[in-house]
C-alpha cells in the first residue's frame, strides 16, 4: 500500500490510549502539544477518534479489563497504523509486571489480534517528550523502508 504509506508520512495523526498507566506518560504526551514542545509544527495532531488515527500512543501495563478494549480500538483504526508503546510499562510491565491484574504488555495484546502490527518502543519512565518526538521521527524512517519494500 504505497499510497497509504506516503500520505502517512506527511502528517501523522495520533490517538492516545491509556491502558492502565500511572498517568505520567499521558501528561508527557499532552505536553507535546503545548507551547514548549509543540509537535504540531511537524504535522502531528492529536485526534478525537481512533478511526482518524495513523498512530496509536499506548501507555500503561494493560490490565485485564482494558485489554479487550485496546484490541477492539486497534482493529477499528484505519491501516496502516503504527503502535507506539510509550514508557516502560507498555514495553514490559515495569514494576507492575507481577500484578494479578496484568494482561500482558501492549505488544502482546496487539499481536494477539494482528501479528504483523508495527510497534515502536519508547523506553523511559516516563520518556522525555524529546524521546517521544524522536521516536515518531524514527517511525517515519521505518515507513520509508516499508515503502521501499512495497515497491
Amino acid at each position: 500500500m504505497p499510497l497509504g504509506l506516503s500520505s502517512l508520512k506527511k502528517s501523522i495523526w495520533i490517538y492516545h490510549m491509556a491502558c492502565s498507566p500511572c498517568n505520567n506518560c499521558d501528561i508527557e504526551i499532552l505536553d507535546l502539544l503545548t507551547p514548549r514542545f509543540d509537535v504540531e509544527r511537524f504535522g502531528v495532531v492529536l485526534v478525537g477518534s481512533v478511526r482518524h488515527a495513523d498512530a496509536l500512543l499506548c501507555t500503561g501495563m494493560v490490565n485485564r479489563q482494558i485489554k479487550p478494549r485496546l484490541q477492539e480500538a486497534y482493529l477499528q483504526a484505519s491501516k496502516p497504523c503504527i503502535v507506539l508503546a510509550i514508557g516502560s510499562c507498555a514495553i514490559n510491565g515495569n514494576i507492575f509486571r507481577k500484578s494479578y491484574n496484568m494482561a500482558g504488555p501492549v505488544d502482546r495484546a496487539i499481536k494477539e489480534v494482528d501479528p504483523n502490527a508495527i510497534i515502536v518502543y519508547v523506553p523511559g519512565c516516563p520518556p522525555k517528550p524529546e524521546a517521544m518526538i524522536s521516536s515518531v521521527v524514527k517511525a517515519i524512517g521505518f515507513l520509508d523502508t516499508l515503502k521501499a519494500k512495497a515497491k
Binding site: N92, Y100, M102, A103, P105, K111
Partner: protein, 168 residues
C-alpha cells in the same frame, strides 16, 4: 471541639461495646469492637463526633478478615481507627455503608478483593476487577497464588513465551 480527651469521650459514648482501646501516639486512637456493634460505633464516631471517613482497610489474618475503619477529626487532628473482625469461615459483617454513604465504595472494594460479605450494603456490585475475573478468586487473600482455577492464569506474564523478546 471536645472539653476532655477524645479517648475519654469515646469511652463514655461507646461504653462497654469497646473491647479494647489504646492511644499509642498523640494523634492516633485504636479501638476494637465486636462485629455486631460496628454500625453503632461507626454512626457515633461519624455523626456525633463529626469526623470524616478516611477509608477502611481489610487485612487477611488468622481469625478472619480484620477490618479497620479510619476516621479523622479535622478540628482536633485526631485519627480514630475502629477495628473489627469478620470471622471465618463465612466472612459476614454488617455494612457501614448502610449508615453513611461515604463507606459505599470502599466496602464494594473490600467485598471483591477479600470476599467479605457486607450485610445490608445498598449497592453490592463489583467496583475494580474486570467483568470476566473469576468470581471465586479473591486476590488479596493470603492463599491467592495457590488458587489454581481452570482457565485462569494468576500471573500471565510469567508464563514462558518465546515470541515475546521483551520478557525480562
Amino acid at each position: 471541639m471536645f472539653d476532655k480527651p477524645i479517648i475519654d469521650v469515646l469511652k463514655e459514648k461507646l461504653g462497654d461495646r469497646i473491647k479494647d482501646i489504646s492511644q499509642p501516639r498523640e494523634r492516633r486512637i485504636y479501638l476494637f469492637v465486636d462485629g455486631k456493634d460496628i454500625q453503632d460505633a461507626a454512626r457515633i464516631i461519624f455523626f456525633d463526633m463529626k469526623s470524616r471517613l478516611c477509608t477502611a482497610t481489610a487485612i487477611d489474618t488468622r481469625l478472619g478478615v480484620e477490618i479497620i475503619y479510619h476516621f479523622f477529626i479535622d478540628e482536633d487532628g485526631m485519627m480514630i481507627n475502629l477495628k473489627t473482625v469478620a470471622p471465618r469461615p463465612d466472612l459476614i459483617i454488617k455494612s457501614v455503608a448502610a449508615v453513611f454513604v461515604a463507606a459505599e465504595w470502599i466496602e464494594r472494594e473490600m467485598a471483591e478483593l477479600f470476599g467479605v460479605t457486607f450485610e445490608g450494603h445498598p449497592d453490592p456490585r463489583r467496583l475494580l476487577l474486570a467483568d470476566d475475573f473469576p468470581k471465586c478468586i479473591y486476590p488479596y487473600r493470603n492463599d491467592y497464588p495457590q488458587s489454581k482455577i481452570e482457565g485462569f492464569e494468576a500471573f500471565p506474564i510469567d508464563s514462558p513465551d518465546k515470541d515475546n523478546t521483551n520478557d525480562l
